[in-house]
Symmetry: C2
Subunit: 138 residues, 2 copies
């Protein structure tokens, strides 16, 4: 079986935001005191504002305020070897104000009163394409 | 419609390694000079050795050697609100030796002669469960 090799095509910024706006789950990466770490989050992306909710006592709440972060959303299909990935890099801010609460809907039960906002400085994205430069379909 | 709230259950270390061994795509997070960043990678996980291949001139090749990294694998289903996530934290090493080449099969065309090995110091994982403590099925 011939390997189906793919190439990457950069996505335009507007396309990246469109994919972000359609995403309900992302991965937040930040540098904890003991090194890089990653957590899945349930996002709300309204316009170009990215927020999510977390617990008051979480490591994230304690560590990401006013810090550099990266947020990734994407999808891959290992059978068809399709996929895309959008990466937001910027800073995070943490708010305990209920007036600024994120509209994100956490899947997890339990109080999540803290809102984290990701302030994007750089938004990039890439999609896998086939030999013809097309996005493969299954 | 009632929200289907989930809880998180910690996965045992052996279960985390089983999920890693079944994963072909992961996300590598590291701290670049300008802050945290994330890249999708095509993994090979043999036993407890995690490797992948990258290009000689990539930012990853230049930045991750002997550095702290985090590697995440997982899956989520936004309709059923199911999902799991495994996080490996440790250090990376970079090898240009063809004798140490990773068996990982990159989806991308083009030479990827550099092997990155992730040396795990901490492996944790969590899975979403329903009100009965069961993994939801679609």
């Amino acid at each position: 079986m011939a390997a189906r090799e793919r190439a990457l095509v950069e996505l335009a910024t507007d396309a990246c935001w469109g994919l972000l706006q359609g995403s309900r789950v992302g991965l937040l990466a930040w540098t904890a005191p003991d090194g890089p770490t990653v957590r899945p989050v349930n996002l709300a992306v309204a316009g170009r504002t990215i927020t999510f909710r977390t617990a008051a006592g979480s490591a994230m709440t304690q560590q990401v305020d006013d810090s550099l972060v990266a947020l990734q959303v994407g999808a891959t299909d290992g059978v068809e070897r399709t996929g895309w990935s959008v990466l937001v890099r910027g800073t995070a801010s943490v708010s305990f104000s209920s007036e600024e609460a994120s509209p994100a809907e956490p899947w997890l039960r339990g109080a999540r009163p803290v809102t984290v906002t990701v302030h994007a400085r750089e938004v990039t994205g890439r999609v896998l394409v086939d030999d013809e430069g097309q996005i493969p379909h299954g």
